[in-house]
Subunit: 413 residues, 4 copies
C-alpha cells in the first residue's frame, strides 16, 4: 500500500532534521519544503542534508519577491505595528510561506503538512491558520505538540543523541543561546538567555545592523517615493552626476537594509503579548522596514484628511493584531485590508529622510495629493480664513462644557 505523503517545512536545523527522520520512521513519504524568504542560509547544503536523511524530494523555492511585494510592502502601506513597536517581520512571512507549502502539497497530492514550530509560540498558529484557510481539508502534523514526540525529545540533548544515532549531521558550532527567525525584513531573537526581561542582552547579538558606536559617521540622505501608500522607489544622491534610483521592490528593500544596517537602524527590545496569552521578550532588527514605516507615516499624515486618518488608525491597529495572531487569510483581515487600501488612495508623494546614528529623521515631504494648504495655514496670509469664525467655533464648543461646568462645579479641578 502506498504511503501517505507529508510536506515538511524544513529549515535544515536540528529540530526539523529529527522531525524528518521521525516522520520517515512513522512510515510517511516526506517531501521537504524550504522557502527562501531572504534568510542567510546555505540552501544547497540544507537540501543535501534532507536528502541524506531520507527525504523523498526537497523543494527550495525563492519567495523573496513574493514576500516583499505581497506582504512586507503592504504591511508598510497598512501601517502595521504590533503593540506600538513591532513591525511584524515574522508574522508577515508565515502566510507567504504557507501559500508556498500549500501549493506544493496540492500539486504533489500530499495529505499532510508538518512543521517544527513549538507549542508555546505564535508561529504554529500563524502557520496552521494560514494552511487551514488555504486548504480547509488539509491536515497538519505538529510533532512538538504530540506527547509521543515531546515526551521522547525533552531537551536538545535528546535531539542530538537521536541525530547521531541516525547519522544526521549535527553542526559543530555550538548553538547560540537564543533562537532566531530571519528573513529579508527582519531578524528576531528570543528564548534562552533572553527570557529574563530584566537582563541586559549580550553584545554581538544583532546581525543586520551595526552597534551605534560602529555606525557610519556621515549621514545618508535619501528620497523615498510612495504611490497609494506603497513604496515605489528610492533615490540616493551620489557624488556622480546622477542620483541612484531603485524601483525594483526587492532591490529597494535590500538597499535600505544595507543603508539601515550601516547606520544601526531599527532595533527594538520589547516584551510582547503572544496570541496564546503568554508574555515573551523579543529583540528585533528591521532596518529597511523601519525606514519605510517612518517615512510612510509622515507622508500619510501629510496627505490624508484628519478624520480619515483616525478611522485608518483604528483599522490599522486591528489589522496588526489580526496579522500577529495568524489571521492574514481570515474574513476580517481580508476585509480590513481592503478598507486600509482604500484609505491610501491619496498617499502619493516623496519623503526626504536622513539616516544617521540609529535615527530616521524626516527632513521634508512633498505630494500633489496632500490636503495641506500653505496659504490657508499661513500666519501671514488670510488665505480665505475669517478669524471671526473661530470665535463662533469656540463658543459653540464651549456650550457643552459650560453646561457641564455649571452642573458639576468642575471649577474645583
Amino acid at each position: 500500500m502506498a504511503k501517505d505523503l507529508i510536506i515538511l517545512a524544513y529549515s535544515g536545523g536540528l529540530d526539523t532534521s529529527c522531525i524528518l527522520k521521525w516522520l520517515i520512521q512513522k512510515n510517511y513519504d516526506v517531501v521537504c519544503y524550504i522557502a527562501d524568504i531572504g534568510q542567510n542560509e546555505d540552501f544547497d547544503k540544507a537540501k543535501q542534508k534532507a536528502e541524506l536523511i531520507g527525504a523523498k524530494d526537497v523543494i527550495v523555492e525563492d519567495l523573496r519577491k513574493e514576500f516583499v511585494i505581497n506582504y512586507m510592502l503592504p504591511g508598510i502601506q497598512m501601517g502595521l505595528v504590533y503593540e506600538s513597536r513591532y513591525y511584524l517581520g515574522t508574522s508577515l512571512a508565515r502566510p507567504c510561506i504557507s501559500v508556498g507549502i500549500v501549493n506544493a502539497a496540492k500539486r504533489l497530492g500530499a495529505k499532510y503538512i508538518s512543521h517544527g514550530a513549538t507549542g508555546k509560540g505564535n508561529d504554529q498558529v500563524r502557520f496552521e491558520l494560514s494552511v487551514y484557510s488555504l486548504w480547509p481539508d488539509g491536515k497538519v502534523i505538529a510533532p512538538w505538540r504530540l506527547p509521543e514526540f515531546f515526551n521522547r525529545f525533552q531537551g536538545r540533548s535528546d535531539l542530538i543523541e537521536f541525530a547521531k544515532r541516525h547519522n544526521i549531521p549535527v553542526s559543530a558550532t555550538p548553538k547560540a543561546p537564543w533562537s532566531t527567525d530571519e528573513n529579508i525584513m527582519h531578524i528576531s531573537y528570543e528564548s534562552g538567555v533572553l527570557e529574563d526581561p530584566g537582563v541586559i542582552t549580550p553584545n554581538g547579538i544583532y546581525k543586520m545592523t551595526r552597534d551605534l558606536p560602529e555606525t557610519d559617521n556621515y549621514p545618508c540622505t535619501l528620497d523615498i517615493s510612495f504611490e497609494k501608500g506603497l513604496p515605489i522607489s528610492i533615490k540616493i544622491p551620489s557624488d556622480q552626476e546622477k542620483a541612484l534610483v531603485i524601483s525594483d521592490p526587492l532591490a529597494m528593500v535590500q538597499t535600505l537594509n544595507k543603508i539601515g544596517g550601516q547606520h544601526g537602524i531599527g532595533r527594538i527590545d520589547i516584551v510582547e503579548n503572544r496570541f496564546l496569552g503568554l508574555k515573551s521578550r523579543g529583540l528585533y532588527e528591521t532596518p529597511a522596514g523601519t525606514i519605510l514605516h517612518v517615512t510612510h507615516l509622515d507622508l500619510e499624515a501629510y496627505a490624508l484628511d484628519k478624520e480619515v486618518l483616525r478611522l485608518k488608525k483604528y483599522l490599522q491597529d486591528k489589522m496588526a493584531d489580526f496579522v500577529y495572531n495568524g489571521f492574514w487569510f481570515s474574513p476580517e483581515a481580508i476585509y480590513t485590508r481592503k478598507c486600509l487600501e482604500l484609505s491610501q488612495e491619496s498617499v502619493t508623494g516623496t519623503v526626504t529622510v536622513q539616516i544617521f546614528k540609529g535615527n530616521v529623521t524626516v527632513l521634508a515631504r512633498s505630494s500633489n495629493t496632500s490636503l495641506y494648504n500653505k496659504d490657508l495655514v499661513s500666519m501671514d496670509i488670510a488665505g480665505g480664513f475669517s478669524p471671526e469664525d473661530s470665535t463662533g467655533f469656540i463658543n459653540i464648543n464651549a456650550v457643552r462644557l459650560k453646561e457641564y461646568a455649571r452642573f458639576s462645579a468642575v471649577t474645583k479641578f
Copy 2:
C-alpha cells in the same frame, strides 16, 4: 465710573505688548498675567515692560511644579501622543496656565480675560475652552479675532509702528523667521519659513537639544522608576560610590532634559492636523518627555494584561485628541483620565535605558506587578503549559476560517 478689569495673558513680546496698550486705549484696567512654565524668559524685564506700557498690575506666577506634576507627568502616565508622534507639550500647558489666570481673574474680580493667540491656531481654542470650563460666566476678548484689531494690524510692521508710536520697547534683535512656544516639557517651532513642508528646516533652530554630530560620544545609562504609571524617580550611576537618585518631579524633568539635550533626544518634524481643520507643519523637541514616554511604554507592555492594554490604547488615543483640541476640562476628558489612571494600577517598576546619539534604547525592565511569567514562556521548562492544548486552540480558531474558505474559495488569494 470704574473701568472693567481685564486679565491679559502676557508674554512680553510685541503682540501682547501692543494688545496691552490697545486694551488700555479701549478704557480697560489691565492686569498682566505671566505664567512661568519653564520657558527661558526674563520675567523681571517682561514685568517692567508691562508696567511701562501701563498695566495696572503684573502677576508672575511660577507654575512649573504644577505643570510637571498635574499635566506633564500624567500625560506620560496616560501615554498621550497626538497623531502617533507629538507629545502635546503645548497642549498640556494651556489648561495649566488657564487655571492660573482664571484664579487670578476671580481673585481680582475681573470681568474679562484676554490673550494674544491668533485666529487660525489651536491655542485660542485650548485657552478659551479651559477658561469657559473653569469659569462659565467669564468672558474672553481675543483681539486677533476682532476685525477692529486685525484690520488695523495687518502685519508685523503695523505692530512695530504702533509700538514705536506708543513708546513700547521693541527688541533690537530681529525676530526669528518662525514662531516658538516654550515650556519645561518642550519647544515648538512653526510658521514663517517652516510653513512649506517640502523645505528642509534651517540649521540652528533647536534650542533644548544638540544636533546629532555635536552630541556626547559616551552613552548615558540610567534607571527610571514608575509607580502606577507615574514617573517617580531616576537613578543615574556615577563614578563615585553612590548613584544619583532624583525623585523631585521638577528636578527629575530638568535632569532628563539636560541629559536628553546632550544626546539630541526627542526632535520631530511633522505635519499635523489642527482642531480647526487646517494642516500645519511643526517642529518639536521634547527631551525629557521622550525618554519618559519610551520607558513608560515599555514598562506598561511588560506589566499590563494584553486585553487591558488594548482598551487603554483606545482610550489613550481618544484622550490625546481631547487634550490637543483643548478639552482637558471636558466631561469626556475627565472621564477618560479616570479610566486611564485605573488602567495603570499595576504599572509599577523600573526601566533601564540608554541615552545615546538621539536614541532612547530600553535595555531591561523589572516589575513586581508584571504578568510576565518566565517559566510559563520558557522554551526549556513546561511551566504548567500543555502543548496539546495548543492544537485544540488552533483547531477551534480555524473553524470559522475553514467555513469562510469553503464559502468564498479564499484559496485563490
Copy 3:
C-alpha cells in the same frame, strides 16, 4: 445694475415666506426652491404663495426617488442608527435636498443660497456643510443667525405682523404647538410643548402611524429581500393566487409605510445630543425605515462573519454620527461609506417578518451567502467538529486568566 440672485429653500410656511419677503426687500432676486421628498404638502399652493410674495421663480423638484435610492436605503444598508435609537430620517434628507438646491444655484448662476433653519438646530449645519462641500465657493445666508433679522423677529407674533403688513397669506389654522419635519422616511416632532422631557406627549401627535389601540387586529407577514445589504423587494402573501411583489424602491417604501402605519410601527420618544452640544427631545415615527432596519440587522447577523460584523459595527456607529452632524459629503463619510458597502457583499437573502401591534418580529431568514452551517452547529451531528479541541481552546484561553488570578488573587471578587 443687476441684482444678486439667491436661491431660497422654501417650505411655504410662515418663516420662509417672511424670509422671502425680507430678502426681496434687501434687494435680492430670489428664486424659491421646493424639494418634494415625500412630505404631505400642497406644492402648487406653496408655489403660488411664493410667486405672490414676489419670488422671481419657483422650482418644485420631485426628489423622492433620489432620496429613497441614494440616501434612505443606503442608510438601511449601512445600519445607521444615531445614539442607538434614531434612524436619521431628517439627517439623510438634508444632503439630498442640498444637491438639488446647489444644482439649481449653479444652473441659474446664483451667488447665494438661503434657508429658514434656526441657530440652535442641526439642520443649518447639515444644510450648509453639504452646500459648502458641493459648492466650496458658494455663500449661505441664514437670516435666523443675522442679528438684523433675529432682533427684528423675536417671536412668532412679529412674523405674523410682518406677514400681514406685506400681504403674505397666513394660515388660518393655528400652528401646532411643536415643530415638524416630514419626508417619505419619517416625521419628526420637537420644540414647544415637547421641550420638557418629563411631560408625556399629547395624544394625536403622530401622523404616519396609528396609536396601538387603533392598529389592525390581524398581523401582516411578509418577506423582505436584500442584495448586498440593500432592500430590493418585498413580497406580501395575498388571499389571491399570487403574492404581491414590489421591487420599485419608492413603491416599496410607500407600501411598508402603509403597512407599518396600520400596525403602529416605528415610534420613538427620545432625548438626543445635537451636534452643537445641546440636548433636545424629539419624537419620530419611521414605519418603513423601522421594518427595513430590523430585517436588515437580522440578515446581516446571519450572513456576516463574526469579526467582520464587529468592524462594520464600529464603522456604522461612526457613520451615524457623521450623517447626524451633517458630514455626508465629508472625506470621512465618503470613505466610511465605501468600507460599509464592502462589508455588505454577502448580505443577500430574505427575511420573513411579522408586523403586528407595534412589533416587527423576525420569523425566519434565508440566504445563499450566509456563513451559517447547520451541520456544524447541530447538537445531533458532529459535522466535522471535534469536541476535544474545545478543551485545548478553553485551556489556552485560561492561561492568561490563571496568571492574572494568581497575580491579583482575583478569587476575592
Copy 4:
C-alpha cells in the same frame, strides 16, 4: 485509599444524571451542586434523584438574589447587549453559578469540578473560564468532550438506555424538540427543530411571556427609578390610594417579569455568533430585562454628556463580548466594568414607561443630574445662546470640507 472528590453541576436532567452515574463508576466521590437562579424546577425532586443515583451529597443553593444584584442589574447598568440584540441572560448566570460551585469545591476539598455542557457550546467556556479564574489550580472534567464518554453516548437513546440499565429515573414526558436554559432573567431556546434559521418556530414555545394575541388589552404604565445606572425601584400606580413601590431587587425583577409576561415583552429570534466561531440560532424571552434595558438606555441618553456616552458605548460593546465569551472574571472585564460604573455616576432619575402589546414605550423621564437644559434648547428663549456663533462653528467645520471638495472635486458625488 480515599477517592477523589468531584463537584458536579447537576440539573436533574438526563445528561447530568448519566454523568453522575458515570463518574461514580469511574470511582469518584461525587457531590452534586444545584444552583437555584430562578428556573422553574422541582429542587427537592432533583435532590432525591441525585441521591438515588449515588451522589455523596447534594447541595441546593439559592443564588437568585446574588444573580439579580451582582450580575443581572449590573448588566443593565452597563448596557450589555450582544450583537445589538441579546441581553446575555445565560452568559450572566454562568459566572454566578461558578462562584457558587467553586466555593463549594474549596469548602469540601474537592479536586475536580464537572458539568454537562457540550463541546460546541458557549457554556462550557463560560463555566470553565470562570472556574479557572476563581480557582487557578482547579481541574474541570467535561465528559461531553472526552472521547471515552461521547463515543459511548452518541445520541439521546444511548443515554436513555444507560439510565434504564442503572435505574436512573427517566421523565415520562417526552423531551421538547429543542433545548432550554432558564433563569430569573430569561429563558433561551435553541437546537433541535430550531436549528434551521429558515424555519418559523412552532407555536407554544415561549414560557415567560404570552403571545401577542393573548396579551392584556390595557396598557400598564409605571415608573422605574435608577441610581448611578442601577435600577433601584419601580412604582406602579393602582386604583387604590397609594401606588405600589417595590425596591427589593428580586421582587422588582419578579414583578417586571410578571407585567412583561402579561404584555408579551422581550422576545427575540436571532442568529448569533458563538465564541467558538459557529453561528447558531437562538430564541430568548427576557421580559424584566427588556423593560429595564429600554428605560436605562433612555435615562442614560438624557443624563450623560454626549462624548462620555460615546466612550461608554464603545466600552459597553466590548464588555458584552467579554461576558458572552465567558470572560467575566478576566482582567479586561474587571477593568471595563470599573470604567462603565464610573460612566454612570450621573445616571440617576426616573423613567415613565408604558408596557403594552409587546411594546416598551418610554413616555417621559426626569433626573436631577441630567445635562438637559430646557432654556438652552428652547426655540422660544435665547437661553444664553448666540445664534451668530453657529455661523462661525459651521464655517470652521466647513474649512476642511471645502479643502477636500476643491481637492477631489467631490461635487461629482
